[in-house]
């Protein structure tokens, strides 16, 4: 009898605990008392950059951008709350990091270097080294569930965000949701994409000379100007002058990327099946796409060592030496661009000097991009 009574006494507690859980997860919390009056954010596109495609269903708002910035810096997206987007995309390194491959949750290592997040809102030819995401919104979904990155599942993230006292307000203010249950991965991805679209850089020395027409005669040195000519295959004095063929993959005006996927001859293979990381080929299933990776922007390249999709080169000097050597031939290397360049030591110095003119220090000093939790 005592046992039955004890059980009966316990029932309300059990019921109560279930009810609490259900209020949070099933019925959610009404948010309609919180004002929803988002402020439209208009991007100013600097000279030299192309148009940016803003999806009709994800217009930029001050509230959405701020929410995206917070999510970007918040480890809440990861399984053990140790990894945020900013763990691998550090602002001081042009939203890149300084390791060949970045550690994820529990120190697990991936096999690719993080990509620099700079002017990515202008890019329209896929994201990630292998182009597997067509949009920034889709891209933002992937790292959360990658076992060597955040190792979390979105169902859990959604619950964490729905329960969070600050985020539920911010999601309401950004997207006008009426209930916490409407906080979803798609809205989180939209907010992250909004923040990423604001990551605009256009104030390197080369930008100022080329696109802002800064008359300062000392802005770009003669050495850097010679490097520019090598970069663009322009003549450096005579018909036999060296060509770096750099711009074939890194032009796009102030973007400094063609957004194309190429095999840049960094991996020696016997056949096209032998690439340890097939890159684009793993996505398309096309043999001749194996070993192809997206040509990254060279903006702020001096800040984003190590280089290549696997971070194999520690310095820009090593990168230049690779291209000067012609690299490793395979059937799908860019035949016309990847071959011995015969650059002299002066040419290499000039090219290196030019690459440094693409550094925009105002970018990583921009308070709008910085960690809001610090």
């Amino acid at each position: 009898m005592k046992k039955i009574c004890f059980f009966i006494l316990l029932l309300p507690l059990f019921w109560g605990s279930c009810k609490d859980k259900c209020e949070t997860n099933c019925n959610g919390e009404d948010l309609t008392d919180i004002p929803y009056d988002p402020t439209a954010h208009t991007l100013t596109i600097p000279a030299g950059l192309p148009s940016m495609d803003i999806p009709a269903d994800n217009p930029l708002t001050e509230e959405g951008i701020e929410l995206g910035r917070r999510l970007f810096y918040d480890p809440i997206l990861s399984k053990d709350s140790t990894i945020s987007c900013s763990s691998c995309h550090k602002l001081t390194n042009s939203f890149n990091d300084i390791t060949a491959v970045s550690p994820g949750v529990s120190g697990l290592m991936g096999n690719r270097s993080s990509m620099s997040l700079i002017n990515i809102g202008f890019q329209i030819n896929g994201f990630f080294w292998d182009g597997r995401s067509a949009t920034l919104e889709d891209q933002a979904l992937h790292p959360v569930e990658n076992p060597v990155e955040m190792a979390e599942i979105w169902d859990n993230v959604e619950v964490k965000l729905q329960r969070h006292p600050d985020y539920k307000i911010r999601f309401r203010e950004a997207f006008g949701i009426d209930n916490t249950t409407e906080i979803t991965r798609d809205l989180a991805a939209k907010a992250l994409a909004q923040f990423e679209r604001t990551l605009i850089s256009a104030n390197s020395r080369y930008d100022r000379r080329k696109f802002q027409f800064d008359p300062d005669p000392f802005l770009i040195s003669d050495l850097e100007t010679d490097g520019e000519k090598i970069y663009f295959d322009d003549k450096l004095g005579d018909a036999n002058s060296p060509k770096g063929h750099c711009a074939h993959c890194h032009d796009g005006k102030a973007l400094y990327t063609s957004e194309r996927y190429e095999n840049n001859a960094i991996t020696a293979v016997t056949t096209l099946n032998d690439f340890p990381d097939k890159g684009l080929g793993a996505i398309t299933g096309v043999l001749t796409d194996n070993g192809k990776f997206k040509a990254p922007s060279l903006r702020n390249i001096a800040l984003t060592a190590p280089y290549m999709h696997d971070g194999r080169f520690q310095t820009l000097e090593q990168v230049i030496e690779h291209y000067n050597s012609g690299g490793h031939y395979a059937d799908n290397v860019i035949d016309g661009s990847i071959n011995q360049l015969h650059l002299t030591e002066y040419d290499k110095q000039a090219l290196l000097a030019f690459l440094h003119t693409l550094t925009d220090t105002t970018y990583f000093n921009n308070p709008a991009f910085q960690n809001p939790f610090q």
């Binding site: 950059l49 329209i124 001749t288």
Partner: protein
Amino acid sequence: MLMKKLLFIIFIAGFVFSCKDNDKPSTPSTTVNLNFKATYDGEPFVVYQAYNYPDGQKIRFQNFDFFVSNITLLGEGTTADYVLSEVEFFDFEDNIDVAAAQKAQTVSFSKVPPGTYKGILLDFGVPAGLNNSDAGKLPSDDPLRQHFSSHFWSDWGSFIFMKLEGIYDSTGDGVFNQSDIGFEHHPGTNDVLTSVTKLKSFTLEKDKPFDLDLVADALKIYIHNGTALDLSDPANKDTQDFSKMPLAIELMSHWEAALSF
């Protein structure tokens, strides 16, 4: 009374139907499908496939793409000229096998006036008015914006109008490797815009879609007065600096022969 009501209903119905007729477009039209294929010496153009070059050596391509602008149907008799499109882009880089190469790339144009046309005019390249970096500001579905990153050559301030990329077996050993000559023919700038007219009469009938089949032959881009460009000469491997402008102009001038309709 009943008769009056019936008459009223008939009157209203007539009014409604007459309104509906007035809403219909009064100008008859049809759809034209511009179908582009690429070939090499008449064979389907397939990337990474070895072909015979006229000098007896082998050649292999990785890419063949180009802009076509001012695409105009040339009217005959009472039919006026009709501009189908300001600029389009055709890309055969994904012709990874014969099956892919045999499938045309198609751009469709609706609301084309029916009538008799004597041929078609196309400009290979980007028209001068659009050939500047402002094209990067166009909406993302515009061909010039879509290919701005890959085809705008900042050093010229111009789009690359055509890309033909590949490798020529200069060693003659039948194997492609770094000892051979990779080529990258990228003509651009307003000086190389090339207008081609193809005369062949055709009639567009109302609401009957019409297929306009065009073929671009990559080999013919390299044939000048019956002689193939000497690809064994490293000086002919690219068109990037301004000293190569004569070669760029020469290659683009071959579009008249390279295009068949």
